[in-house]
């Protein structure tokens, strides 16, 4: 690439990205997707770069996806998870991070249950910081891989009617997706129980529905979110059964959507709670493609940030 418009040291969220930057990541991911289809799935692009996967919260999917992306780019990845670390000994987050910094990694991929942690690290560390999910705030690479998948199926994002359904309040995926999809010109509708809808969410530029049928009527894309009833106080929702009756996506209810609708889910799924198995495994589902694309998108992010953080083209 001769001119590299990517200038950010960190990827903290979608909120601050321009549509040009989003498109750059998606376009870059296109070229990396091909790597995953080769028999030998490895390129030397990030040889000699060290990436620390700093996970303070359990994660299988996102961490594996980053790890595979790092391996395919020939970067040296190090896994640091809170269970085996000094965190339990009372070390502060900043001290942990400064210790890692002292080992001079190029990039730090961080997942934490508290919003703002990647921002706190980015401000104080030389290494580029990639937010792999901070509490209910943002999960930018998930939104990017979702957009990548949508673009692949629909050829565009602009003008699409996209419904996101589930536990909006506790979801970082939804926040990153709202930013990304509305920046790219989609029409976003959120739906879920009123007790799981965060205050003033319509100010983020979305429509809100409290009825599943209304929310999915005419939808091009339906994104189901994992419902974690255990994360709410018992006052938020009575039972998984009642949830499924009101907001569970079934084959029958899907008839309200467009004929060529695609069904997405960031995982992990609760079958029989937010989504029926025949929908999750049905012909409209692109859920496993999302996972496949996740690797390419994360390769693109790692690639772009490793250049920017080193001041290289």
């Amino acid at each position: 690439m001769t001119s590299d418009p990517w200038t950010r040291k960190d990827l903290l969220g979608i909120a601050e990205l321009s549509t040009k930057e989003i498109e750059l990541v998606l376009d870059t991911a296109e070229s990396f997707r091909e790597v995953s289809e080769r028999p030998i799935k490895k390129v030397p692009t990030l040889r000699g770069k060290t990436v620390v996967n700093l996970f303070f919260e359990p994660s299988t999917r996102t961490r594996s996806s980053f790890e595979i992306a790092e391996k395919r780019l020939s970067a040296d990845g190090l896994n640091f998870s809170s269970s085996g670390s000094a965190i339990s000994k009372g070390e502060t987050l900043l001290d942990t991070a400064l210790n890692l910094q002292a080992m001079a990694p190029h990039l730090i991929v961080v997942r934490h249950s508290h919003p703002g942690v990647p921002h706190m690290l980015a401000e104080r560390l030389e290494a580029g910081v990639i937010n792999a999910g901070d509490g209910a705030h943002e999960h930018p690479t998930q939104a990017l891989l979702d957009a990548f998948t949508i673009r692949q199926h629909k050829g565009r994002i602009e003008g699409l009617k996209i419904s996101i359904i589930g536990d909006i309040e506790k979801s970082r995926v939804v926040r990153s997706n709202i930013h990304l999809l509305s920046k790219m010109g989609a029409e976003v509708t959120l739906a879920g129980p009123r007790t799981m809808m965060p205050a003033a969410v319509e100010k983020m530029g979305v429509s809100v529905a409290y009825d599943l049928d209304e929310a999915i009527s005419g939808a091009d894309v339906i994104m189901m979110l994992r419902v974690q009833l255990e994360r709410h106080s018992r006052m938020a929702f009575p039972s998984a059964k009642e949830y499924f009756n009101l907001f569970g996506l079934t084959r029958d209810r899907l008839k309200k959507a467009k004929r060529d609708v695609i069904i997405m889910h960031p995982g992990p799924m609760n079958r029989g709670v937010e989504i029926a198995s025949d929908v999750a495994d049905g012909r409209d589902s692109v859920i496993l493609e999302q996972v496949f694309n996740g690797v390419a998108v994360r390769m693109a992010v790692l690639y772009l940030l490793s250049g920017a953080s080193q001041g290289e083209a």
Partner: protein, 430 residues
């Protein structure tokens, strides 16, 4: 021992004074306030040309952290911060370790303050033993030891029956019951105001209703008991409306607001990228709440401005936003912030600001200050409307540096603090 303060503009809302007057201080008391005072022979002269001379300022909501958390602040450093910020009196909250819930802890704080007095320190006692919200503390005994009000502050009185009893019992001593009005079930694990910005940032919210519900309950209890009730750091427009309504019905209700709730909104959490200096309780509210509070200053519904000076160590504030403690300090920024942001744009008059920081709190807590009437203790605050200051926490007298106002350039600043006729605070030049 005489001190003559001459050349300044005297603003004393307690006497409706605003003009070029001289103040003569004799033996620690105000002897005369006049255009030209008499009997100045032998007096030391303080040239207050270009300065405002007002009754000593009072911050009625300060956390001194002593006993128990002296690494955050002590009575001494709190007094020094007060003197540097133009405050001659501070009232300190009982959430120390141990809690100020008995006479001996009360007297300990009072005696620490008398060792090298830089401000008058008025302890506020707990409502309940150990601030546990179960049984009344020995309030009468604490009054003998010097408390001027009761509150469980950060642990609001949750039990309505206890609140009712406290409002009744405090009447024996003529002291107000101060409430940090917050329904703990509604505020839950919230760390900022619940609204657009908590939603955007994914942080758990504290709804405005957490404050409103508690104020509503307490006003009903105040009406039934005939007690005196004071809302600490009131932060919502709706709570203010209720207080305004209660006052109109003749209830003995007062309230204070903080400079940060008057100047900042919940958006600051996003604008500062999750800075823990924007984390306080009650949280920064919305723009419409902020505007309502400004209107409340102007229309007289608000009785005092107080800082809720809450010192924390930088190690504590340098944690994840959700884990960092609530609170910021204010003794050394109160004045400049209010002069620059409230008086200079004409939102309130200078005399009204002086009232909110002196006569107002003195009336609420029944303190001897807040006036320049002849015969009262000579507590004066001298300040400039013209000189500027840049907020630099590193220069604070306070042990703590947790402020969201670092680097703010402000016009108007304290110049001298006179306590009982003695100059105790001459802030460093900046």
């Amino acid at each position: 021992m005489k001190l003559l303060v001459r050349g300044g503009r005297v603003v004393d809302p307690s006497q409706d004074l605003d003009g070029p007057f001289e103040v003569l201080i004799e033996d620690g008391h105000i002897a005369q306030v006049a255009e030209r005072v008499k009997g100045i022979r032998g007096a030391q002269v303080y040239d207050a040309t270009d300065l405002v001379v007002s009754p000593g300022w009072i911050d009625m909501h300060v956390h001194l952290r002593e006993p128990g958390q002296e690494y955050k602040e002590t009575v001494r450093t709190g007094m020094l911060a007060a003197a540097a910020g133009g405050f001659t009196s501070i009232a300190c909250m009982p959430n120390t370790k141990p809690v100020i819930d008995n006479r001996s802890v009360t007297e300990h704080v009072a005696s620490e303050a008398k060792k090298d007095p830089h401000a008058r320190v008025y302890p506020i006692g707990a409502v309940s033993k150990g601030q546990k919200g179960e049984e009344l503390a020995e309030i009468g005994d604490m009054v003998s030891g010097g408390i001027v009000a009761i509150t469980d502050d950060g642990l609001p009185v949750r039990n309505a029956e206890l609140m009712r009893r406290a409002l009744l019992y405090a009447q024996h001593f003529g002291i107000p019951v101060i409430q940090h009005a917050q329904d703990l079930d509604l505020s839950r694990d919230g760390v900022m105001h619940e609204g657009e910005w908590s939603t955007r940032l994914g942080l758990p919210g504290i709804p405005g209703s957490a404050e409103d519900v508690m104020v509503a309950r307490d006003l009903i209890l105040t009406e039934d008991t005939g007690g005196r009730y004071h809302v600490a750091h009131l932060s919502t427009g709706r709570a203010l409306d209720m207080v305004r309504g209660a006052k109109a019905r003749g209830l003995a209700v007062t309230c204070e607001v903080t400079p940060h709730h008057l100047l900042l909104t919940d958006k600051a959490v996003a604008d500062t990228g999750f800075s823990t200096q924007t984390k306080m309780n009650p949280p920064l509210r919305t723009e419409s709440d902020r505007e309502a509070l400004i209107n409340g200053l102007a229309d007289g519904s608000i009785d005092a401005i107080a800082s809720d000076h809450a010192p924390h160590h930088s190690d504590e504030k340098n944690l994840e936003f959700s884990l960092a403690p609530f609170g910021i300090i204010g003794l050394e920024t109160n004045m400049s912030l209010c002069l620059e942001k409230l008086v200079r744009p004409g939102l309130i008059s200078l005399s009204r600001l002086v009232e909110l920081f002196s006569t107002g709190p003195a009336r609420i807590l029944n303190l001897p200050g807040g006036t320049l009437l002849e015969g009262t203790p000579a507590d004066l605050t001298l300040f400039s409307l013209k000189r500027s200051v840049t907020v630099r926490a590193a220069k604070f007298q306070s042990k703590a540096s947790n402020t969201p106002f670092e680097g703010w350039r402000l016009r108007g600043r304290p110049m001298a603090t006179i306590l009982g006729g003695r100059i105790v605070g001459t802030p460093p030049t900046a």
